[in-house]
């Protein structure tokens, strides 16, 4: 029964190597909440830009006629992981969690597991 602020704090505190997290409405590309980030990591800009990533993947799946849904999207950079988790809750249509991790400190499997838990706690 967390609120959005506690969910974001939870993500920053419980996930090793977390550099920033945002909850994004992908209809508009607007971040409904952000935590962390830095001068070199503007989470609002990242939120809007990654909306295009999600949309492109959904379109690709449509073209392939895949009867499936996206659970998460992982982007591996030289020094960071970017993890996008689409919220599947019945009321969470059109939202995703966006997590930036320092790849040296992060445990990817744990991070994915924690994001799944945080998503479930956002719901009843």
């Amino acid at each position: 029964m967390a609120n959005t602020e506690t969910a974001l704090k939870d993500a920053m505190n419980s996930i090793d190597g977390a550099l920033g997290v945002a909850l994004v409405d992908y209809g508009s590309g607007m971040a409904l909440g952000t935590l962390g980030g830095s001068a070199s990591l503007d989470l609002n800009v990242a939120a809007a830009a990654n909306t295009d990533v999600v949309r492109a993947k959904l379109r690709a799946m449509e073209m392939l006629n895949l009867q499936d849904s996206i659970e998460d999207i992982l982007i591996t950079l030289g020094t960071q992981y970017h993890l996008i988790r689409l919220l599947t809750g019945r009321g969470g249509n059109g939202l995703f969690l966006y997590l930036v991790l320092d790849s040296k400190r992060a445990n990817l499997a744990m991070a994915r597991h924690q994001l799944r838990r945080i998503e479930s706690e956002l719901e009843v």
């Binding site: 992908y26 949309r55 959904l58 019945r90 009321g91």
Partner: protein, 268 residues
């Protein structure tokens, strides 16, 4: 266009003053209403935007009964939203996210009306509070920034404002269309395009964000999947979407009713 710009300047000046005064009340006009508490935006509504209740019930997240129960019991004390959380119908997070999405969606159409003849809100009902109750107040400056960003998004997607107010006409596919899965939001919009409904009417029917639907329609037009109307095409007379207004509790301050009364008095 000049009228829109002038209206925008007036509403900007009024909003600035209300923020400085840390005012509480509703700034309202034909394009909708912005509810402020202590100078921050706590609620917004527009006749062309599906409200929180419609979003939650159209998606199947809440039953119509749960929603009406919260409105009837919580509305008179301005706490319908909190009641949904207390009764265990929604988590606090879901309430916040759904309410914020609806707030920014409505604020866009209040501050950037689709129809140039709609006046920007110019009347302030001091002390008015919304029956939904405050959820997460948003600074007015952040809302303005977001409205500007959204205008830019539409412009960049396909610079044709006529699309926003015209019926969405799908372009017939040259080859037999593949049985698309329509998983993406724009797929759902395209499937709902019947050549009659405008983007905001489609948003109303689907219970989804009106702005996101405008953006999807612009992108569909850019991709050649929806017909682009000729520049300067006069918008057809727009019927108000059948959705939200009806779910307002009987004893809640009803802005649109007050407006109609005011207009009738002025016409005397």
């Amino acid at each position: 266009m000049t009228a829109v710009v002038t209206g925008g300047a007036v509403v900007t000046a009024t909003l600035d003053r209300l923020v400085r005064e840390r005012a509480t009340g509703a700034l309202h006009g034909r394009a909708g209403a912005l509810y402020l508490a202590d100078g921050a935006l706590v609620h917004a509504e527009s006749p062309v935007v599906p409200d929180v209740g419609w979003r939650l019930t159209a998606s199947g997240r809440l039953s119509r009964e749960s929603w009406e129960e919260a409105v009837t019991e919580g509305g008179p004390d301005h706490r319908a939203g909190s009641l949904l959380v207390e009764r265990g119908r929604l988590s606090r997070g879901e309430l916040e996210l759904c309410h914020l999405s609806a707030l920014f969606d409505a604020a866009y159409f209040v501050l950037s009306p689709l129809d140039g003849s709609q006046r920007a809100p110019d009347r302030f009902l001091r002390g008015a509070r919304h029956w939904f109750g405050p959820v997460r107040p948003v600074p007015v400056a952040a809302v303005r920034r977001e409205v500007r960003r959204r205008r830019g998004l539409l412009e960049r997607a396909w610079p044709c404002p006529e699309l926003d107010v015209s019926p969405v006409v799908p372009v017939p596919a040259p080859a037999p269309a593949p049985r698309a899965v329509r998983r993406s939001p724009s797929g759902a919009v395209l499937a709902a395009a019947d050549g009659v409904r405008t983007p905001t009417q489609i948003a109303g029917a689907l219970g989804r964000s009106a702005f996101a639907t405008l953006l999807d329609v612009r992108r569909l037009a850019a991709a050649g999947l929806v017909r682009t109307p000729a520049p300067g095409t006069p918008p057809p007379r727009r019927a108000r979407p059948a959705a939200p207004a009806a779910r307002v509790p009987a004893d809640a301050p009803e802005i649109f009713l007050l407006q109609r009364i005011r207009d009738a008095l002025e016409a005397l």
